[in-house]
């Protein structure tokens, strides 16, 4: 009889603790279910992000390709390219020189020729594969004979390979 009472008492205690455990687990589960639901709704689409990243990497690559690296070209090589281009477009070079402005070296050209030839030269500069910059340009067409005199400064844009 004592054994039976002990067994029933023990079973009752076990039952109580199991019931407590069940209730606590039920609450925890409900909370976790809500969290899972919330996190599922908020989670961004990984495919979209990956696609966007690929597009940006491609764009950056294309943009970087328009810059020269430090040792890729020097002002003399660049000067040769511009000189040849001006001659090619039929513009007469009256003078060219290098000038330093805020630690940057520019090539300054004084040219004369047809206005359309200058426009064509400027178009080629704008459409070049690399970024060529013209921070200064003056065009004088006051002679009235259909020709122009122009002075412009030109240089090339560079990037440091380590920075990108």
């Amino acid at each position: 009889m004592l054994l039976w009472v002990f067994a029933v008492f023990t079973a009752g205690i076990v039952f109580y603790f199991k019931l407590e455990e069940m209730t606590s687990l039920g609450q925890k589960t409900a909370m976790l279910e809500k969290q899972v639901q919330k996190i599922t709704m908020k989670a961004p689409n990984s495919d979209d992000l990956t696609g966007e990243k690929g597009l940006l990497v491609e764009r950056i690559g294309m943009e970087k390709a328009k810059y020269y690296y430090r040792d890729e070209i020097d002002p003399y090589q660049f000067s040769t390219i511009i000189k040849n281009l001006l001659s090619e477009k039929g513009l007469y070079i009256k003078k060219y020189q290098t000038i330093e402005v805020k630690e940057r070296t520019y090539l300054e050209y004084s040219v004369s020729g047809d206005a359309l030839e200058l426009a064509e030269f400027l178009r080629v500069v704008a459409d070049s594969d690399k970024y060529w910059s013209i921070p200064f340009l003056s065009i004088d067409a006051r002679k009235g004979d259909g020709t122009i005199d122009a002075v412009f400064r030109i240089n090339y844009e560079t990037i440091n390979e380590k920075d990108y």
Partner: protein, 389 residues
């Protein structure tokens, strides 16, 4: 069951014999069960009220005090049940404790029985009539009177040499109303012929009786499960309270087990959720790092793009598109994003309106305008700033 034995008292001590040819049994002799000597027992028949089988034992123990004069502490009993038409009777076998202990020692744990054990199947068989069963044994004779399937009384006498004297004693035991009784004589096979002759000589001509051999009844003994004073027999009834306790404990145990199973299942689901949550968390972390990477790439691209030089060709094209047909530019200068031009044309104020709405230029100012003599044109100067694209 021909290897059954019986016990007889000789010179104050018990001797065992096999039923087969009354062969004496030594200490090491084999036998399957033992018939106790009837003179050692008192047999009583008690009608039972409708009580549970478990309570019968207690009720009979209580009733025994009025049935048997011996010291209750030194008395033991066992019983067998008979039932007939909703009525239940207990046939009690009462003796001294020491007697049963002696029999138990003699039998070495083998089953014990009494003549009634052998006769009980016959009572069931002849339950419609009133019978007197006369059990002829080697040294004693038991008379069992059965009325409508119920034992009315049982008595024992010592067996004498003369059948007539024995029979006379038996008849004297029978009550007055026993004239219509059927007689059943039970004796060993070897005694059958002698007894038959003696009975015929003693009974009135035309009286009927039956003869049954003990060997025949012993043959049926193996079918029975009604041995006496056995432990199994005494423990046959499981107390009701024990059953209730047992079932309560089982129900409680099952409830705990079911609950435990439920808890285990819920635990497994919780762990599954936790794992899913962890996987989502790690996914979110990788998404966050991907998003940061994207932001970094975007700022890198913006920085690279912002460093792109102004497109002079595009500025000049836009300027000429605005001025075309209205004026002719004679001088143009641009440094970084500030420009100035000189032109000759009609109505420069109208031109300023056009500049204002153009999205490529800002801060456009007309500095000077001088009419050209002899024409309706003006020579004018304009300054402005190229909008950062």
């Amino acid at each position: 069951m021909t290897d059954c034995a019986y016990a007889e008292i000789a010179d104050g001590s018990y001797e065992l014999f096999l039923f087969e040819k009354n062969h004496p049994l030594g200490l090491s002799g084999h036998f399957s069960s033992l018939m106790m000597a009837r003179p050692d027992f008192d047999i009583k028949s008690v009608e039972l009220p409708p009580v549970s089988e478990h309570d019968i034992q207690n009720m009979l123990r209580f009733k025994l005090r009025s049935l048997y004069p011996g010291n209750p502490d030194a008395t033991v009993f066992d019983y067998t049940l008979l039932s007939r038409k909703n009525k239940k009777y207990a046939v009690l076998f009462i003796t001294q404790k020491k007697t049963i202990e002696t029999y138990r020692n003699l039998s070495h744990g083998r089953p014990l029985f009494l003549p009634f054990t052998l006769v009980k199947p016959l009572i069931r068989k002849y339950s419609e009539e009133n019978y007197a069963f006369i059990f002829y044994h080697t040294r004693w004779i038991e008379l069992m009177m059965v009325q409508s399937g119920m034992l009315v009384f049982s008595s024992v006498i010592n067996r004498g040499e003369s059948f007539e004297i024995n029979f006379g004693k038996i008849l004297a035991l029978l009550p007055e109303y026993s004239e219509g009784l059927s007689l059943v004589f039970i004796c060993a096979k070897e005694d059958t012929d002698g007894l038959n002759q003696a009975i015929r000589g003693s009974l009135d001509p035309g009286s009927s009786y039956r003869m049954v051999s003990i060997e025949e009844l012993l043959g049926n003994l193996h079918k029975k499960n009604d041995f006496l004073f056995s432990e199994r027999h005494k423990k046959r009834a499981v107390p009701h309270t024990l059953i209730i306790f047992f079932f309560t404990a089982i129900v409680l145990l099952l409830s705990v087990l079911i609950l435990h199973k439920g808890v285990q299942q819920r635990k497994a689901y919780f762990e599954q959720l936790e794992n899913r949550m962890k996987s989502y968390e790690s996914q979110t972390l990788s998404m966050k790092s991907l998003e940061n990477e994207l932001k970094e790439l975007e700022s890198q691209w913006m920085e690279l793009h912002s460093r792109a030089p102004a497109n002079i060709y595009h500025i000049l094209s836009e300027l000429s598109r605005i001025i075309e047909g209205r004026a002719v530019i004679t001088y143009f200068v641009i440094e970084k994003d500030s420009f100035q031009f000189e032109a000759v044309g009609q109505n420069p104020l109208d031109l300023m309106d056009t500049f204002k709405i153009n999205k490529n230029f800002q801060s456009i100012k007309l500095l000077q305008s001088i009419p050209v003599q002899g024409t309706n044109k003006e020579r004018f100067k304009v300054i402005g700033v190229v909008k950062n694209q």
